[in-house]
Symmetry: C2
Subunit: 354 residues, 2 copies
DNA sequence: CTGAAAGCGCTAACAG
DNA sequence: CTGTTAGCGCTTTCAG
């Protein structure tokens, strides 16, 4: 028998009973009062260490654990946080969630997950379900829609702190962990220019909101510094829908004949590759390409894809750490404070001249 | 102003108050009793529709929503389910979670997420935190470790139904939604044979547990039917760790000189591609490759990767639908019942002879 | 250090 | 259809 199986069998053995048992039953099984038993499960020093030990042992034996809802009703906390993200589609969010889940569990917290599909109305509805005590805090990457985010005030009124990661709202004063997008966009664009690109297109899913805007600014600055014209026709504001953005990108390439593309999100780069293939354009010869992406197999693509790789996992960790700082009173909530984490620029064949 | 912003502003306007208000206060504000108010928030027909409307309106005005913990304590239901998965690494799980989240939210449920890192001990610990009423049901893809899963009895004792997807435990009697892995493995292997492969290696992360075993059986059957020998040295049981499986695969290729590889999980195929590159082996000429994967850009890899693509999203949807069938009493829990969903076989350059 | 007692906010008989 | 009432299981004063 494997060691691990032995452990698992012992594990379940300690808990073999149903836990429909309540604190009162446990108390009477020990000849104590329920208050004493209760104290054993809190960090209460008004209890004899030996009594506490005895209680915990018996609890394990009988499979007792304090009813979650009774304790929470009595005014303590939910030990739960929520993650709200716009989508599940890419490695960036998977990695970030992994980091968030890890920090949360290390702190004994549970994690609820919500997906907005980039839809601000859904986002607002989700927020609404969180303010009745369900969660102690929220980690969010904004849907990117809408200019007014007053609905986040609901959280504030209910004293539920929120920390943004990646996509934040500029009108909401709170902590935020994001990438050094301006700089990396500048560098990515500069790199394209150094590889002889003259007509560089910028693709975004929403060029007016946080990441879409900032990444565009880095792009524009690089063009400006290289004395290249900024041509609005080369700036495409398209959709998350693969079908739609494929068509938009196709139009852009056919009409504007860019010689390079800087995609602010991974999905748009993937569509670009498909469009290029369909139009018989070779990357990088006919069209250079670089994009924001956390894909770990970018080097296996044909051609190897140049990427701006954000530290997604780290971003999740830091955002959650900050949330716990606020929850534990080590730090004040509701204060605008942005932490920028450096992305890694990986230049490969897709953006490099022959 | 955008239509959506208008909506969002109206939305928050209806909820501008903090919700520290209780059912009693709302009741007295309306000159009603708290039971009547309570009824307005349940699906109770013992209430005048007009009264109900009046209550809901006032509630909205005052920003009242029923305290989660009080209702749950009273009704002992949490409106929450848990997803437990071994990892976040690939598209398969992202897609499945997306499906699960969607069904859950459509039913007004919340979703907790837990990652086991393929570790059965963590899995057991997580289960332990779920049986105090925190969740009404569990959707899980097993860690794949351990042969004894007695700890899942905890759920049974506490009447928390569980539905497996993808990776199930054969010793746990419950509903399960998985792929038709035997058949697709058979077909995938047969396809390699038809493309002149003679020494086909099989890679798994755990060949003794559900998916690892069944996929291997399909592979063996195909070899057998083609009168090819089954050589245990061509069957590799390796780790999830990229560093370790890279080394294992390298050894296998160097020592056994397979002419084709069938990888039962995506990660092992990726390592194979890297090993092949390092050893200067060309895919498919020197080594053919096919694997289980939900990668949506398999066709963009160099060479385009042949895959067995499981219906991950659909799997999430069906597993969750079944869970709700059990929760709503439309179906009995604790009964072994496996639903097999067809995978799609996509043959591309990586597995095809010149 | 331990126990008794008073609710937390809500739901569901039960009685009108 | 509406109100009264008795808890759900736990935490936390307040006395001993």
């Amino acid at each position: 028998m494997h060691k691990i199986d032995l452990f698992l069998i012992m594990f379940v053995h300690s808990f073999i009973m149903a836990s429909n048992i309540t604190i009162v039953e446990l108390a009477s099984a020990l000849g104590l009062s329920k208050s004493t038993v209760s104290r054993a499960f809190r960090d209460n020093q008004d209890i004899n260490p030996r009594t506490k030990e005895r209680i915990l042992e018996k609890a394990k034996e009988l499979g007792f654990s304090p009813n979650l809802y009774a304790s929470n009703l009595r005014g303590s906390k939910s030990q739960t946080i929520a993650i709200i993200i716009p989508e599940f589609g890419n490695k960036f969010f998977s990695q970030a969630i992994k980091g968030i889940e890890w920090v949360a569990r290390s702190n004994g917290y549970h994690v609820l997950i919500y997906v907005t599909d980039h839809n601000a109305v859904k986002e607002a509805e989700i927020i609404q379900t969180l303010v009745n005590g369900r969660v102690d805090g929220v980690i969010m990457s904004g849907s990117g829609e809408g200019n007014s985010h007053e609905y986040l005030k609901l959280l504030e009124y209910n004293k539920v702190p929120i920390v943004f990661f990646d996509r934040y709202y500029e009108d909401v004063p709170t902590a935020c962990v994001t990438g050094n997008d301006f700089d990396s966009s500048y560098e990515a664009t500069k790199h394209l220019i150094e590889n002889d690109a003259k007509r560089i297109a910028y693709l975004a899913v929403n060029k007016d909101v946080s990441i879409g805007r900032i990444r565009m600014e880095g792009y524009k600055k690089a063009l400006h510094d290289a004395a290249l014209p900024i041509d609005d026709r080369l700036i495409l504001d398209t959709s998350n829908e693969a079908v739609i953005n494929y068509e938009d990108i196709r139009e852009l390439i056919l009409n504007e004949k860019p010689d390079a593309i800087f995609a602010s999100v991974e999905r748009l780069a993937m569509s670009t590759i498909r469009v290029a293939k369909a139009l018989n354009l070779t990357i990088p010869n006919d069209l250079k390409l670089i994009c924001f992406s956390c894909l770990d197999i970018a080097d296996m693509l044909q051609p190897a894809l140049s990427v701006v790789k954000q530290p997604a996992y780290e971003m999740g960790i830091q955002a959650t750490t900050q949330l716990f700082d606020i929850l534990c009173g080590r730090k004040q909530g509701g204060v605008r404070e942005i932490v920028f984490l450096d992305s890694e620029l990986i230049f490969q064949a897709s953006s490099t001249k022959a």
